[in-house]
């Protein structure tokens, strides 16, 4: 079991069974925000299209409005000018919400992080709380799917508790 951290906005009184059911539903319907920053976003689009099809695991409903999305996929380089916008989008999303940092740029600045650089924010974790990181430049769509599955396992607190899932992930993940 992970250590329990109270999310901002989470209820103080919690009911275990209800929580489990809600988490199961949340994990299986992660709606990402239609939002990309740089080259990694192209891979995100590919993951949503026919060949990889995020919709199979219920994560293909890319919502245009942050009010209706559950997960923000920070896909690409975070320019200094873009950082406040990303923060605002994050604030506009209703709880519970998650963030995936996709690609080296949003993990640590990637190829643009050198000494005395002035243009980018080296890492999405500096502006929003990141749940899952997906390394790669760019990560392949399979990697994004792997990351989403890992996020699902994080939400249900362990792969074994995701009762709706009908397959096993080969490796990795919480639990």
């Amino acid at each position: 079991m992970e250590k329990k951290v109270r999310e901002p906005g989470a209820p103080v009184v919690q009911f275990a069974l209800l929580d489990d059911i809600l988490n199961l539903a949340r994990a299986n319907s992660l709606w990402p925000m239609t939002f990309g920053l740089a080259c990694c976003a192209i891979e995100m689009m590919a993951a949503g299209a026919s060949r990889f099809d995020l919709d199979r695991i219920g994560a293909g409903v890319f919502r245009p409005s942050p009010r209706q999305s559950d997960v923000m996929i920070v896909a690409g380089t975070i320019a200094k000018k873009m950082a406040p916008v990303i923060q605002m989008l994050w604030d506009q999303m209703p709880n519970p919400k998650w963030c995936i940092a996709m690609g080296n740029c949003s993990i640590s600045g990637g190829p643009f992080a050198y000494e005395e650089q002035y243009a980018i924010v080296p890492g999405a974790h500096l502006i929003v709380p990141v749940d899952i990181v997906i390394p790669g430049c760019p990560p392949r769509p399979e990697a994004l799917i792997q990351g989403l599955l890992a996020l699902e396992d994080k939400i249900t607190k362990g792969e074994g508790r995701n009762l709706l899932r009908r397959f096993k992930r080969v490796s990795g993940g919480v639990n």
Partner: protein, 327 residues
């Protein structure tokens, strides 16, 4: 209370209401799943697959998730109207179920103004959309709402004119009478133009692509429901699909013979199945259209209604009136 509780009017009404509520929810859940499956298969991908067999539990997971989401009231939004709009959008579509002729005896209430009632109440949906867009206090939501009103005003006219040409032939506004009239020949064969105009206008009325400019993602974020989170958005979503069912059910009973089989051949299948079969086929066609055609531009949309559909439906109604008079 002479005829007892079971036969009383109130009991029938409450039972009808409960059945309608349950049916509309289940139907909406099924339609959302169907939409995603149709979209998937039209784009050479499987659609929802892993949550339940063939993704059948997907929409239930979505629904539970939406209930569990935080409801955000935007800063400076109109509190009362903001929460009233999603409720208001769902109410009129329920009223529509009252007069739908599922089968010969299976109408909750066969009113002699049934057709009028459905279309009168369906306009409340537009009002709800306008309320929602206005109360959100967001420029995109307001623009989406205004577009929705303009579009609905433009398409209500050909829709009603198309329906009127059917009514002129039958001399009745009751659904049961209209369906009874199509025992041998469906109205789509007698009034092909009216049927086509009805289907196009109905697609626009329910804000479906290619006429979904009130929620055009590429221009307006998410249109009138930009600011709605959680179940507020969920209700708009459910209402859209229930509305789609109503529109297609009305099309079935007005143009596709309702509970009658093709050319009077019913093959011994009960009328309800004919009715539902045709309705769901029409819904499938509307989904098919959505995932095939790109979204039209706003001026194209308005021009198409005012310059093509309205003159055509007017001409159709005049010709129908003359023919009915002569025969």
């Amino acid at each position: 209370m002479s005829e007892g509780l079971l036969g009383s009017e109130w009991f029938r009404l409450i039972l009808g209401l409960l059945i309608v509520l349950a049916f509309s929810q289940l139907n909406a859940l099924f339609l959302v799943w169907l939409e995603r499956k149709v979209a998937g298969h039209l784009q050479l991908r499987p659609g929802p697959m892993e949550v339940g067999p063939h993704g059948l539990l997907q929409t239930i997971a979505d629904g539970v998730k939406l209930v569990g989401k935080e409801l955000i009231l935007p800063f400076k939004a109109d509190r009362k109207l903001f929460f009233l709009a999603p409720v208001m959008v769902f109410m009129p579509v329920l009223v529509g179920f009252l007069v739908l002729p599922f089968s010969r005896g299976l109408i909750i209430r066969d009113m002699n103004v049934g057709v009028l009632l459905v279309f009168a109440f369906s306009t409340i949906t537009v009002l709800a959309i306008l309320t929602g867009g206005w109360a959100s206090n967001n420029k995109y939501a307001l623009l989406g709402a205004v577009r929705s009103v303009a579009q609905n005003v433009a398409y209500e006219i050909p829709l009603l004119l198309a329906v009127l040409s059917v009514v002129l032939v039958v001399h009745s506004l009751s659904f049961a009478k209209i369906v009874e009239y199509q025992k041998t020949v469906w109205f789509i064969f007698l009034q092909p133009l009216a049927g086509l105009i009805y289907l196009i206008a109905a697609t626009a009325e329910t804000n479906r692509a290619p006429f979904d400019i009130p929620e055009a993602e590429s221009e307006l974020v998410a249109g009138f429901h930009t600011e709605y989170s959680g179940m507020g958005f969920g209700l708009f979503f459910l209402a859209e699909y229930t509305n789609m069912f109503i529109v297609c059910a009305v099309a079935t009973s007005l143009f596709f013979g309702g509970w009658n089989g093709l050319f009077g051949i019913s093959l011994g299948i009960p009328g309800v199945f004919w009715f539902l079969l045709k309705t769901y086929f029409l819904i499938f066609v509307i989904m098919w259209v959505r995932w095939t055609f790109p979204r039209v531009r706003f001026d194209q949309l308005m021009n198409f209604s005012w310059k093509v559909m309205i003159p055509l439906s007017l001409a159709n109604i005049v010709i129908t009136a003359i023919v009915v008079k002569i025969i």
